[in-house]
Subunit: 134 residues, 2 copies
Amino acid sequence: MTATQELTKNQSLVFDALTRAEGPLSAYTILDQLRNNGFRAPLQVYRALDKLLDYGMIHRLESINAFVACSHPHDHGHSHGMIAFAICEKCGQVSEFSDDVITARVREWTNGNGFKPSKTTIEIRGVCANCGTA
Amino acid sequence: MTATQELTKNQSLVFDALTRAEGPLSAYTILDQLRNNGFRAPLQVYRALDKLLDYGMIHRLESINAFVACSHPHDHGHSHGMIAFAICEKCGQVSEFSDDVITARVREWTNGNGFKPSKTTIEIRGVCANCGTA
DNA sequence: GTTCGTATGTGATGTTATTACATTAGTCAA
DNA sequence: TTGACTAATGTAATAACATCACATACGAAC
Ligand SMILES: [Zn+2]
Ligand SMILES: [Zn+2]
Ligand SMILES: [Zn+2]
Ligand SMILES: [Zn+2]
């Protein structure tokens, strides 16, 4: 289940909203955008988001309580390595990148300390190149 | 301003609560623990937390909406490099570590992309060695 | 003592996320 | 066809996290 057309109606609506958006959206912003499509309650959004997260089609940005469509549409699972996000606090643009060195380094620490990782969050907040020079 | 005795009353109460605790605490948990000390409203906690974050005496764990006392009491500013947290989802224990390689690697990316970082979050959730073998 | 910055007290409100329960729709086997 | 099962959905209420607005108190500087 990785293609848009296999999603349910609500999942598609939420995914499309995130794909249309320039930057990350909060669950309640998505809810407001989808009221004309029959959405009435937060749970309709959160349930769709949970599935889309499962499928690896979107990401949750923990540091800003928001969600963003994955910018690597052909590698939804991000099978190799962990993902870092650079989040511009001025324009909201999110850059998604992976780094094998960071991945290896984190794994070294967890292996060395007997820590079994389930989810790793790397988020850099700041000002992007566009906003910095403007 | 880095020593406990220079804190205000509310700041000391909040900092002591976090220091006593085995693991991270939510703002509302702190509030409940301090009701006998005159705390009545969330803002009393959040204001103290903000100052303690400024002073580098505590950290906010973005991925679990909680706060923890810094485990490096003699390096509150963490002057050199960024900090990563390993958070056990079973016992709540938080391990704080810094890694120069990760720090350098993140800086490479931000420099290469003209991104001016203000705050970097690295949080690994999983199961610690104690809980994994138990 | 007046002024000013910092800290505090308090109620109301805003934002994010989950619980609980009812309903609907599709699948599959007896 | 019916019943049983699973997944998805609809809805209201509530919980959990965070901030706003305004009033008051305190200490240092002048
Ligand atoms: Zn992605
Ligand atoms: Zn920007
Ligand atoms: Zn620390
Ligand atoms: Zn543990």
